[in-house]
Amino acid sequence: MSSHAHTGHAVVVEPSGFIRKYIFSIDHKVIGIQYFLLALTAVCVGIVLSLLMRFHLVYPGAHLPFVSGGIMTPEQYLALVTMHGTIMVFFVLTTAPQGGFGNYFLPIQIGAPDMAFPRLNMLSFWVTFLAFVAIIAAFIVPGGAPISGWTGYTPLSGMGEVTGPGEGMGQTLWIVSISLFCLASLLGALNFIATTIDLRAPGMTLFRMPLTVWGWFVTAILGLLAFGVLLAGGVLLLLDRSAGTSFFLPAGMVVNDQLQPHSGGSPLLWQHLFWFFGHPEVYIAILPGMGVASHVLSTFARKPVYGYRAMAMAICAIGFLGFMVWGHHMFLSGMSPYSGFAFSVLTMSIGVPSAIKTFNWIGTLWGGKIQFKSPMLFALGFVSLFVSGGLSGLFLAQPAVDNMLHASYYVVAHFHLVMGVAAIFGIFAATYFWFPKMFGRMMSEPLAQIHFWFTFVGTYCIFMPMHFVGLAGGIRRYADATGTTYAAALQPVHVFMTYAAFVTGAAQLIFLFNFFWSLKHGAVAGKNPWNATTLEWITDSPPPIDNFGGHYPSVYRGPYEFSVPGYRQDFIPQNLTPDQAALLK
């Protein structure tokens, strides 16, 4: 039996046995679902943590039976802050869009049978899973979870328990978890890049790739270049904590009247290493969502993406500039103020490709024929939320204004709107859009719509008022929001945000129910329920093991040929030959 079919693709063999099929699978589709389910678990944990935080901010003295000691202490609050941020940024926003949907759909959208390195793909997932186990373990070790925030600034994170509870084993597990995550992501990035460069179907030039593929591709390049730096930082931090080194620890530190033995290190070095990773990381979190938004907006407006080339290049520009702006997290850190100004100019520049994308999204809708199915509702919500969240970035990008806004709730509002809402809407849009393809069934549209309205209104209610709390001087990461003399006046806003958070959190149960119920009871989906144009919609739902049943497509046109004049059908799939397309005239 020849190992290569006539098209040159390796024959993909269906695995036998439950373990090989669903646990240690090398099939990118199974791995994609595994990443998605990991992210789903992580987001449930992350939401619970945030609800506990919001509850504590308005009822600090409340008796909580599951908290050791009965009443939440400041260090427990800070542990929630740290773990919420870490779990959400890494195990939800970096996992679901890229590891989940990217893994599942990148090969199919480019017409390939699998990723370039299927076994590496499996390894990436299981190392990520291990990283998740490590971070969850931080909750249950002596001392509890770390309290240094998801940013883990040294020396707070670099000296062990002497700086605070949770800074012992909890912080160590945090570093181990993040380091494992970096490793897994590096391997994943390699895979995505090799796959995109090498395995595209005949006829699929770079500028015929769907924008979702552009998103995953550029995200992978960012990951390849950024995660290694965090890994290095993590190793150095571990050494400082346990091997007596002083990479991040200067001389003369006195903690609790005890002179510390370190010397020669720089706390700013950690910040540079962290943020050199950390800023590309937030673009890693948003770029796949931008790709999905473009894709879904075009599909449900029945119009090509407006300015497709500009959109692809804007993704590249955002990725490129994303490496040059990390210092905007450090304007007030003690870094040279001249560098600060340089970083500011670069940061204002990155607003340009983002703005271009927004204009083109509206351009895609303009003159369209908009159908308000659930994927589209979330894509439209994405645009609104990205505008709101992105614009506040322009304030934070200016160091003079940052004097007023740094470490306030304004920053928290900004990054939640872009990451904690817009990127999540990208994930929801992708889920509702691709669920039929992944599972062969439709999700309930009425439940999906209810989920959307509650979530759209709810997230705006949580995070828009938060800007004003920050402007008035509300400082982030405070276990007690009423501590300062002026902050007590802001409590009613905190109460409002907390109520909104609980309602919005509860609304996510609708999504969870819809997801799992539809797996078994959803209406059976055909190959192309949305009348879309890209390659995943030409194959069965769900796709066979090799994605195309041996009939690998070639590509003859761009990915968004909707409502082309002269054709009876308002979409032309990418794989139809010119003769086949002519039959649609």
Binding site: P74, E75, I147, S148, Y153, P155, L156, P165, A251, G252, M253, V254, V255, D257, L268, K303, P304, Y306, L332, S333, G334, V345, G351, V352, T358, N360, L365, W366, G367, G368, K369, I370, L380, V387, S392, L394, Q398, P399, A400, V401, N403, M442, Q449, F456, M464, F468, L471, A472, A479, D480, G483, T484, T485, Y486, A489, A523, G526, N528, P529, N531
Partner: protein, 279 residues
């Protein structure tokens, strides 16, 4: 079991209307809060002229982003409503290079222009050192207190020795007992400065990273162990202002605060006399 390859759905007025209306409500509510300040949503008035530069830059940014915000959100809402599926054919276009050039150029000019205009507010504090006759106060932070040190009548700060730090026996900064310059240093838990005179703060930390922030000064600075970071300001209004720590520093972060008292020059001289160490 039904197949689900539906044709495009007509009658999409309800979700279109609802989404458009919600976006409009969100815009109106946001603008309303900025304009009417129905709950505390603004910083207190600033007490420095540099603070006014910061406020001006903030306001300029607010105008630019405000216009972009209103136009994009309302544009989105309009497109959602106007182009909902009513059975029409979508207008096929791949875009317009001219439009791309126009809005790219406009955005570059707007955003970069805004960034460059903010240079002065930053440069006046950060690029320019304090004047030679500025009142110097050293700010030392640790978990979870601020300590402020004045050089005393001799105008010189005594040397500090970390090994001699002992908060419990009254030497929280570790003043070197062997250095005579430190004998007249004044160490206080709050900061008192004269009005209308430039004050230079030398920000340092003993343990983890902290931060010194006074809203009314529109000025904050991280306190980093191993570094002494100078900032300066000239307060033009007498008053009692809150100092807070904004950089996560451990479990007591939320309660790490102090006060800035800006007093008349006469009151400041009295303060120094009263706090002077007995000779």
């Amino acid at each position: 079991m039904r197949l689900s390859n539906r044709n495009s759905m007509r009658g999409s007025a309800a979700p279109a209307a609802l989404l458009a209306i919600l976006i409009v409500i969100m815009v109106v509510a946001t603008v309303y809060v900025f304009v009417a300040n129905p709950f505390p949503s603004r910083p207190p008035a600033t007490i420095t002229s540099v603070g006014q530069l910061v406020d001006h830059q903030y306001f300029l940014t607010l105008c630019v982003t405000g216009v972009v915000f209103i136009l994009s959100q309302l544009g989105l809402a309009y497109a959602i409503w106007r182009f909902r599926d009513r059975g029409q054919t979508a207008h096929f276009t791949r875009g317009s290079n001219t439009l791309e050039m126009i809005w790219t150029t406009a955005t570059i000019v707007l955003f970069l222009g805004l960034g460059l205009m903010g240079r002065k507010a930053w440069a006046e504090v950060r690029f320019t050192p304090a004047e030679a006759n500025a009142v110097q106060v050293e700010v030392t932070t640790n978990q979870f207190v601020f300590n402020f040190r004045y050089p005393g009548p001799d105008g010189k700060f005594g040397k500090l020795d970390p090994a001699q730090v002992s908060a419990s026996t009254g030497n929280p900064l570790g003043l070197d007992s062997k250095d005579p310059d430190g004998k007249d240093d004044i160490v206080m838990p709050t900061l008192t400065v004269p009005v209308n005179r430039q004050v230079e703060l030398l920000i340092r930390s003993q343990d983890v990273i902290h931060n010194f922030y006074v809203r009314e000064l529109r000025l904050q600075q991280d306190a980093v162990p191993g570094m002494v970071i100078p900032i300066h300001f000239t307060a033009n209004q007498i008053g009692h202002y809150e100092i807070v720590c904004t950089q996560l520093c451990g479990l007591g972060h939320y309660r790490m605060r102090s006060f800035l008292d800006v007093v008349s020059d006469a009151d400041y001289q009295n303060f120094l006399k009263q706090q002077a160490a007995p000779q």
